[in-house]
């Protein structure tokens, strides 16, 4: 039986982790994640979980310790944001290269400089090439649901990869919303016991983790890593199906909202997608065929499926809450790559919005849709990439 609660995103994800009850977790404070892991620490202090915490002295050590713990043979989690994720960067590659299914909620926050503690996607986008699976969440419910599903995806014996579950800092992490919790035993059953692949603590069969691999095999190892990523989509869908059976909540590789017959569409991640859906509804009420696509699985990126979903639109705007300075926004680059394979593809523009927690308002979405409508009607594209909501 689902339990309806009013909680913050951080609280929901901490509760998901409690329900999964991992063996080890790395804990280190960073705004806006701090509140999540301090809640988890109270579960430990009060005997609600079996988890042993490592109260590390940095995020670099947190990820290092998580790698050691995961290689040792067990279920491992940590969580971070922003600078913490950036500090982990070196170790993120090692977690995925060693094929260790560490689960890490990432409460998305801007990167310094200048210092800013508010939500944008620069942190997770900055490590999109680290070999981690990335699942993005619009709200607290999705963050909770995705966290639970992440264990099944990352720990799948054909996958064995670490997973980041992303949600917007403050907007989601610190806002109270209505959501539904699953029962503890439902989650436990859904996630199942941890299965080992090559546990270091199997003393009878001593293994060596982390060899030096030179020109003779490195290329092959990376190809193998790419190939395993290609299997992730199917597993994500399989896990989502099981999750739907249990919860009634449906998940895919991405979500489409009134997209099927849309002439104009916005592609947008996380919390701002919710705001944009309202705009879509308003426009539809006026007879304008607007739609939305909200990516969920960002790594690996579902290129073919997304191209298929967007192929009938005439003009699409990809909205990025982070920037690749001197290039396009990272989400735009992916969608653009996806659409390029189509013979007839929609016109495509890129808007950068909401950096460092700047509000994304319905009026912003409306403005973008108006521009898309002009382009769809044969108007010229004024700028392929543009910052919106910015003062001159």
């Amino acid at each position: 039986m689902a339990k309806v609660v009013a909680v913050t995103g951080n609280e929901a994800v901490a509760n998901a982790l409690r329900q999964v009850n991992p063996d080890v977790c790395g804990i280190y404070p960073i705004t806006p994640q701090t509140d999540m892991m301090q809640r988890y620490a109270s579960y430990i202090s009060n005997g609600k979980v079996d988890t042993e915490a490592i109260l590390v002295e940095s995020e670099h050590s947190s990820m290092s310790a998580c790698i050691g713990a995961s290689a040792a043979g067990g279920r491992v989690v940590t969580a971070t944001s922003s600078q913490g994720l950036a500090l982990m960067w070196e170790m993120l590659h090692i977690a995925s290269g060693d094929r260790l299914p560490i689960i890490m909620p990432v409460v998305n926050r801007a990167l310094s400089a200048p210092l800013n503690i508010h939500g944008d996607h620069s942190d997770a986008m900055g490590c999109r090439d680290t070999g981690w699976i990335q699942i993005w969440s619009e709200n607290g419910q999705e963050a909770y649901d995705n966290t639970i599903q992440a264990f099944r995806v990352g720990e799948h014996m054909d996958i064995r990869l670490p997973v980041m579950v992303c949600m917007d800092g403050f907007i989601i992490s610190h806002s109270i919303e209505r959501m539904e919790y699953l029962e503890d035993d439902e989650v436990k059953k859904f996630v199942g016991p941890f299965k080992n692949l090559f546990p270091l603590l199997d003393l009878e069969k001593p293994k060596s983790y982390g060899p030096l691999i030179l020109t003779d095999l490195y290329h092959e190892y990376k190809k193998a890593q790419h190939e395993v990523m290609l299997k992730v989509k199917d597993v994500v869908l399989e896990v989502a199906k099981d999750f739907e059976k249990m919860s009634g909540r449906k998940y895919g590789l991405f979500e489409t909202y009134r997209l099927e017959d849309a002439d104009i569409a916005i592609v947008i991640l996380n919390s701002a997608a919710g705001t944009t859906k309202d705009v879509v509804d308003e426009l539809r009420d006026k007879g304008i065929k607007a739609g939305l696509l909200k990516p969920r699985l960002f790594r690996p990126f579902p290129y073919e499926e997304m191209a298929e979903a967007l192929k009938n639109a005439r003009a699409v705007c990809v909205m990025d809450r982070s920037d690749s300075f001197g290039g396009y926004g990272p989400l735009f680059m992916e969608v653009s790559s996806a659409l390029y394979q189509l013979k007839n593809r929609p016109a495509l523009i890129n808007k950068i919005y909401g950096l460092g927690g700047r509000d994304y308002l319905p009026s912003h979405g409306e403005m973008v849709f108006n521009e898309l409508a002009e382009i769809a009607a044969g108007g010229k594209i004024k700028a392929y990439k543009e910052y919106i909501g910015v003062r001159e």
């Binding site: 002295e57 940095s58 947190s62 310790a65 603590l201």
Partner: protein
């Protein structure tokens, strides 16, 4: 019952660190690892910082380690092993593992004194049940003899080369053993492969004390020290007998010198066979030789005083 610490009895034990590793001929580090593992009477899991020992003992499909072993990166052997040890504690608490297992981290001085300092400090403060063993060869030897904070004063390295204006490294070494003891850990000690019995006793003692322990072992490197391939043991013995590398332990804060040379030899005996110090014998560098000897004398006096006062 523990194997008696005699070479005859120890030689009957299975060697858990095999030949076929690719450390340079005459390197001190493999001998140290061999001694540490021979002294260990428990199942043991090791972590290794990136460095000579790591790249030369685990390449492609060849590992010299017959124990579970993990390398992740340069600066984090202590953090990585603290993760392994924490998983062990978690599984033991949950009844999923029953054996008594010990944990050892190995790192060179670059990975320990410098880039791994924070990770080491964190693991020591948290008190993970492990021994961190630094094989200290006094420079970044794996990348080609660059200066570290363990490089002795006066040494010529590739990043503090002895030149016409600067005669090598001008700063004294960081005293890491004492810094580690100041973490209020149960045991911190210095050892040398020349004094194998002393080294092995320290490993055994460390294993029996719960919590985080630190062992600093001098590890001659004939490439970096510009010495002969056959003198690793002789030079480490001279390091001890000149009191450049005193053998001591700090157990629960109490200092004990575990070996006092019968005759304290002049530092020159240690540095003369090493090419990294040869510029010191050129005219004009006498002051540095003098400063180096004074530094050794001062540290030795401080150590003796610490032992005497029971602190």
């Amino acid at each position: 019952m523990a194997t008696p610490l005699t070479l005859k009895e120890l030689s009957k034990k299975e060697e858990l660190f095999t030949h076929g590793h690719r450390m340079c001929a005459g390197c001190g580090a493999p001998t140290i690892v061999k001694m540490v593992l021979l002294a260990t009477e428990y199942p043991v899991v090791a972590a290794n910082a990136t460095g000579c020992l790591e790249v030369s003992t685990c390449i492609s499909e060849y590992t010299a380690w017959k124990i579970p072993w993990i390398h992740t990166a340069f600066e984090n052997a202590a953090a990585t092993l603290s993760g392994v040890e924490t998983m062990y504690r978690s599984l033991k608490k949950q009844g999923k593992i029953d054996k008594d297992v010990k944990f050892i981290a190995f790192g060179g001085d670059g990975g320990t004194y410098d880039i791994g300092f924070q990770s080491l400090s964190g693991a020591m403060e948290r008190g993970h049940d492990m021994i961190y063993i630094c094989y200290d060869n006094g420079a970044y030897m794996n990348t080609g003899i660059q200066r570290s904070s363990a490089t002795p004063m006066g040494a010529d390295t590739t990043t503090c080369p002895a030149g016409s204006c600067v005669p090598g490294k001008l700063r004294p070494r960081k005293n890491l053993t004492k810094i580690m003891a100041e973490h209020n850990i149960p045991y911190a000690a210095q050892a040398s492969p020349s004094h194998w019995m002393d080294l092995m006793k320290k490993v055994r003692k460390a294993h029996e004390l719960p919590g985080a322990k630190f062992l600093n072992v001098i590890s001659p490197c004939n490439r970096g020290w510009r010495s002969k391939t056959n003198d690793a043991i002789t030079l480490s013995r001279l390091a001890v007998n000149t009191c450049y590398w005193p053998l001591y332990e700090i157990e629960e804060g109490i200092t004990k010198v575990t070996y006092t040379p019968k005759e304290k030899l002049p530092l020159l005996d240690f540095i003369k066979p090493q090419g990294r110090f040869k510029h010191l014998f050129e005219p004009g560098n006498e002051w540095l030789l003098k400063a180096m000897q004074e530094e050794v004398d001062r540290e030795w006096a401080k150590l003796q005083a610490a032992e005497k006062c029971g602190c």
